[in-house]
């Protein structure tokens, strides 16, 4: 173009007119057009654009694996999961699914979120290759790390520390690894083989395990002396209890935790005809209830009863509505707004527990749940032979060496001792434990090696597919199929109840996903305000805006919509409303709209700096779809 002199005379003459326009800046949602970046702006934009991944404690790359499933590659989907959340077969069954609460479908559709969790399971079910150890990141460092506790947090930390190149030893109290995954979750929800396969993929990467080793304070001191770092990930083993007047001792009450451990280990004897009451409303309570029902052959027997008593309402139960429906099907009573009041014994044997009704307050207590108050005079006795207290567990901090206490997060007052998982923050779910294991591994590595060796960053690539992601708009509004379940009378207490989606159902679930990792953005310098994109957009996702409001990092926090063309400074894609249909890109006459893919990645810090040199700033790439 620069060789073309044909317009020179004319351009020179126009320069005399001294025309220049004072234009508002060209707002950009990332700090680079393509490449790698770790600026706060990019993390904020990614967090807004991919809400499911942001909501996942382990930051699972949800859209990437769902896209892999939709494109018929469950093995790739499984690998993405394995990388991010370690136990994908496990989590595909038992995850608490914060991602689904954050799914864009919740506010852009009426059929509920994408069933992300079930898709994780489908990837696990349909993959062809068994789980294998993931490749390491760094050469052997000859540093030694000991991990006390082989639960989800400990195992995750072990895997990550091994990938950092350290020698890892796990000390496990039990004869098998998995912690709560094998002890606390009933086998009919999570088959033992699934856990074993994924645990083995970790151990096979070269991790030493000492089974049946109950670490006491003396032993712990020895371990600390022998190792460069010690990670305490022993979970929450101390069951919470409620003081109920008149309640006899052991044998009549049992903690939910203990019950589940015994059940999974096959240690529960005949309980035919007993009346069982479970107090609590979380996953454990539900698991106990269902497990107990099976243990007592409640499904086919008539004599006994199983009742769950919860102090608030179903809406506040940790179990989702699916779970609760399942329980009802299995004839497990759920009584809500009930508070244990007192117990009655006959001949030293528990025969009944009196419950008092609760009423909901308008105000909210800690944790956002509504407060309750007991209603006097509503006491009623329920027959009960066994009371299961499933109201949570707390940490046994006494396990820490003498004089050592937690300071903040993973850190303790001892420079070689760290904490992770439930032992770090109290009883919570598997996915949070996995994330904590990843985080603590990074912290320990940074401490051991004296610098941050892996860089978390956002990678952005340009896609030249004419705005097509492999989906059509109709995919957005498919009916999500329900999870197929084992027929009620075939449920024997060990067989898995959720059967997993068929391949066709999996495809429907997967193609519902908007693939939010694709980002559509308008280059305001190329936009001519024709508004055609606004016309074709299926939703209120593109608007004329007169002003954009930014936070300190440059991320757009809100906008002021304009009615008239004259008031419109920008034509703006609200990526929060965008369903990634690509219509705007296809209709855009000037190539102002581009589709890029943003992903959260990790690599060594050196590699990151090297990659950064190839970054392409905004405005360099002139997109021309023709």
């Amino acid at each position: 173009m620069s060789d073309d002199k044909s317009l020179d005379e004319f351009l020179k003459s126009i320069e005399e007119l001294d025309i220049s326009y004072d234009m508002a800046p060209n707002p950009q949602e990332h700090s680079v057009f393509t490449g790698v970046t770790a600026e706060p702006l990019d993390f904020k934009t990614y967090a807004k654009d991919i809400p499911c991944q942001q909501a996942c404690p382990a930051k699972t790359n949800v859209p990437a694996y769902i896209e892999a499933i939709a494109k018929g590659d469950p093995d790739k989907a499984y690998l993405i999961n394995q990388e991010d959340n370690v136990f994908s077969g496990v989590l595909g069954r038992v995850c608490s699914r914060p991602c689904e609460d954050a799914c864009r479908h919740n506010w852009t559709g009426t059929s509920g979120p994408v069933h992300i969790c079930h898709l994780k399971r489908s990837a696990s079910d349909y993959k062809e290759n068994p789980p294998k150890p993931l490749p390491g990141w760094f050469e052997d460092t000859s540093k030694k790390v000991a991990i006390i506790g082989g639960g989800p947090a400990g195992l995750t930390a072990a895997r990550e520390l091994r990938r950092y190149g350290h020698n890892v030893t796990i000390y496990e109290r039990d004869s098998m690894l998995g912690g709560m995954m094998v002890q606390g979750i009933p086998i009919f929800r999570l088959p033992r083989e699934t856990v074993e396969a994924e645990v083995n993929a970790i151990i096979e990467s070269g991790i030493d395990v000492k089974y049946n080793t109950n670490v006491d304070s003396v032993m712990l001191q020895g371990i600390i002396d022998e190792n460069d770092a010690v990670l305490m990930a022993v979970g929450t083993v101390h069951p919470s209890n409620l003081k109920i007047p008149g309640l006899p001792g052991d044998g009549h009450t049992i903690s939910g935790l203990k019950f589940m451990y015994d059940y999974n280990m096959g240690k529960i004897g005949d309980m035919r005809g007993q009346n069982v009451i479970i107090v609590g409303g979380g996953f454990t309570a539900v698991d106990c209830g269902r497990s107990y029902a099976r243990a007592a052959k409640r499904l086919v027997g008539e004599e006994g009863s199983v009742t769950i008593m919860y102090r608030r309402t179903e809406a506040q139960m940790s179990a989702d509505s699916d779970e609760i429906n399942e329980m009802r099907l299995e004839e497990i009573e759920v009584e809500t707004l009930m508070n244990p009041h007192s117990a009655r014994t006959e001949d030293g044997k528990l025969v009944g527990v009196t419950f008092q009704r609760n009423s909901l307050d308008d105000s909210q207590g800690d944790g956002g749940k509504p407060k309750v108050h007991a209603i006097e005079g509503t006491e009623e006795e329920y027959p009960c032979d066994l009371l299961i207290m499933a109201i949570g567990q707390t940490r046994e901090l006494k396990i820490l060496p003498e004089g050592v206490s937690q300071t903040e997060g993973h850190d303790t007052t001892h420079e070689k001792v760290w904490m992770a998982g439930d032992f770090n923050y109290g009883s919570f779910d598997v996915i949070t434990a996995v994330n904590d294991g990843k985080e603590v591994a990074k912290t320990i590595d940074t401490q051991l090696m004296g610098k941050e060796r892996r860089k978390e960053h956002i990678g952005i690539t340009m896609l030249d597919t004419n705005g097509e992601t492999g989906r059509v708009r109709d995919h957005d509004i498919q009916f999500p199929p329900e999870m197929p379940k084992l027929p009620l009378f075939d449920r024997d207490g060990t067989a898995e109840v959720e059967l997993g989606h068929t391949e066709d159902e999996t495809l429907v679930q997967a193609t519902r996903c908007y693939f939010c990792h694709y980002k559509f953005e308008i280059n305001q310098d190329a936009c001519i305000h024709c508004d055609w994109c606004i016309g074709v957009a299926p939703r209120d996702c593109i608007n004329r805006v007169s002003r954009l409001f930014h936070d300190d990092d440059g991320a757009v926090t809100s906008s002021l919509e304009a009615n008239l063309a004259d008031e419109a400074t920008y034509i703006w894609i609200d990526s929060n409303e965008c369903v990634r249909c690509g219509k705007c890109l296809r209709i855009c006459p000037t190539g102002a709209i581009t589709m890029r893919k943003s992903e959260k990645c990790g690599c060594s810090s050196e590699e990151f700096e090297e990659k950064q040199k190839e970054n392409v700033p905004y405005g360099v790439v002139k997109y021309d779809k023709y």
Binding site: L7, F10, L11, S13, A24, E468, T511, C530, A568, T569
Partner: protein, 518 residues
């Protein structure tokens, strides 16, 4: 049935088209409004929705731009009855009626039919109005009269139901010589009459066929498909090209559907092979269809033949033109032209692609009288094909797609270009103004082109134009810059002043720019 979703990677318009292309306008009149799908199918009947809700635009098809005086009078009646008395001539030689109300559409279509007029296939994914150079019948530079081929192509391609559902619109134009008055290089098919000496020394007539041109968002200059097609086969060749388009055009993305993209993606050689195959399949012998270049032996033609004032045709009769500002006129004025054609001309009214009107067949001695009559009606009779012949699209006045008010720019620019100081270059530049990238007024192939856009300010935005200069009927203009509407007049003035200063001899602005780039 959601399991079949995978097969539906087509645009929404394609799904609507699959439901059928038929509408009952009396039923629509009863309902009082059209559904979105009906509005879409309505295009096949030549009816678009207006920028103003509840109003419609109808495009009356006028093959070759020739209306009998009777048809012209019918148009006046229809305009008076249904369209607030206004008619607009388009750059593709049609007539558009605006402000039509939904309940009157059926009656309007019936009214048009009384004089063999139709809006059918005025819009939609079909062969659109077939155009021709306005002087096709009598031009002194013509190889032969292409009008019969225009009429036959229009008739045959519109009546073929297997060409009803093309991927997108399909435009054909005929030129009587290579001068490009009918813009063959920016149509899907440009058919250009050629003349050569046959092996026996006899003069041989034929058509050169150019395909894959187009303006819009992504401009393409057409490529030579055939160098020589015997005239009697041209309709069959046009049909074969339509079949190529039908079968290979993109149905996923309507912005990439046009024939120009098929040619761009497949290459002209592959397109030629496919077209020849279609011809063979339909039992048309292809041995006398050629692609090699040869020496054209017709009379030499100037670059811009239409510049000639009151041209005398091969029949000895004169063509007299009337300048229609913005291409829009009232039914009273239009009726006057019908009348004048009856009094002085061949009883036909000719519509040009610069949105003007011509009366053909005027006896030389009557030129003065008809000129006086046209001027008395309030229309200029000079300045054609020059700076004062600015062609704007309808812009935001009617069009839902437009970004800018092109007609107000027309009003601002007219006094600038009409200044006496530009007298010498009045006929050395053509100016087109289009309100959006769709280029209804093709701004890229004129000496000076304006395309509507908006430029953002610190707060809000203002109407502006991208300005191109140096375009020619077969060459695209170059971008000069983007200017707010308020700045356009002084920028234009600078350009014209510079042109006055640097021009050599008789060259046009486009030639001047081309020369300076060498």
């Amino acid at each position: 049935m959601q399991w079949t979703l995978g097969k539906r990677f087509v645009s929404e318009d394609e799904i609507i088209k699959e439901q059928g292309l038929f509408l009952d306008y009396d039923e629509i009149a009863r309902k009082g409004a059209m559904t979105a799908e009906e509005k879409n199918i309505s295009k096949w009947y030549g009816i678009y929705s207006s920028r103003h809700a509840g109003n419609h635009m109808a495009r009356v098809v006028v093959p070759g731009g020739v209306l009998s005086s009777s048809q012209a009078r019918r148009m006046c009646k229809i305009a008076e009855d249904y369209a607030q008395g206004k008619l607009a001539i388009t750059t593709r030689q049609c007539i558009q009626l605006h402000w039509l109300k939904t309940p009157s559409l059926a009656d309007m279509i019936r009214g048009l039919a009384e004089d063999s007029l139709s809006t059918f296939h005025g819009c939609g994914d079909v062969t659109r109005n077939v155009t021709a150079c306005p002087l096709a019948e009598t031009c002194q530079f013509k190889r032969f009269n292409v009008q019969p081929y225009v009429q036959e192509t229009a008739r045959v391609l519109t009546s073929m139901r297997d060409l009803d559902n093309l991927p997108r619109k399909f435009k054909i134009t005929f030129s009587g010589c290579g001068a490009g008055c009918a813009q063959p290089y920016i149509n899907c098919i440009g058919v250009v009459a050629v003349e050569r000496k046959g092996t026996d020394g006899q003069t041989e007539h034929g058509f050169k066929v150019v395909i894959g041109g187009g303006m819009g968002w992504s401009p393409f200059i057409g490529k030579d498909l055939f160098s020589f097609v015997p005239p009697k086969k041209i309709v069959k060749v046009n049909r074969a090209i339509a079949l190529l388009f039908r079968d290979y055009g993109d149905r996923r993305d309507r912005t990439m559907s046009r024939l120009k993209f098929v040619v761009y993606r497949k290459g002209i050689d592959e397109c030629r092979r496919i077209v020849l195959q279609y011809l063979t399949d339909e039992d048309v012998s292809t041995e006398d269809i050629e692609a090699e270049a040869f020496e054209e032996t017709g009379v030499p033609y100037p670059d811009r033949p239409l510049l000639e004032e009151n041209p005398v045709g091969t029949d000895g009769k004169v063509t007299v033109r009337a300048m229609i500002p913005k291409g829009e006129l009232t039914h009273i004025d239009f009726k006057r032209f019908a009348e004048l054609s009856e009094i002085y001309g061949n009883k036909k009214v000719y519509l040009t692609n610069r949105q003007n009107i011509e009366i053909h067949g005027v006896k030389p001695e009557k030129v003065e009288a008809i000129t006086a009559d046209i001027q008395a009606a309030g229309f200029a009779t000079e300045g054609f094909f020059g700076m004062r012949d600015i062609v704007p699209c309808v812009g935001t006045t009617y069009c839902p797609k437009a970004v800018t008010e092109t007609r107000s720019l027309y009003d601002t620019l007219m006094p600038i270009v009409s200044q006496e100081k530009y007298k010498d270059i009045w006929d050395k530049a053509i100016i087109n103004i289009t309100g959006c990238p769709n280029s209804c007024s093709p701004y890229r192939i004129t000496d000076i082109g304006f395309r509507g856009m908006r430029i953002r300010e610190q707060m809000g935005s203002t109407q502006a134009y991208e300005m191109l200069i140096g375009g020619e009927h077969d060459r695209l203009g170059k971008k000069l810059g983007e200017f707010k509407t308020d700045d356009c007049p002084r920028v234009l003035e600078k350009i014209l002043d510079t042109f006055l200063r640097v021009r050599k001899g008789d060259e046009t602005l486009s030639e001047c720019i081309h020369r300076m780039g060498l």
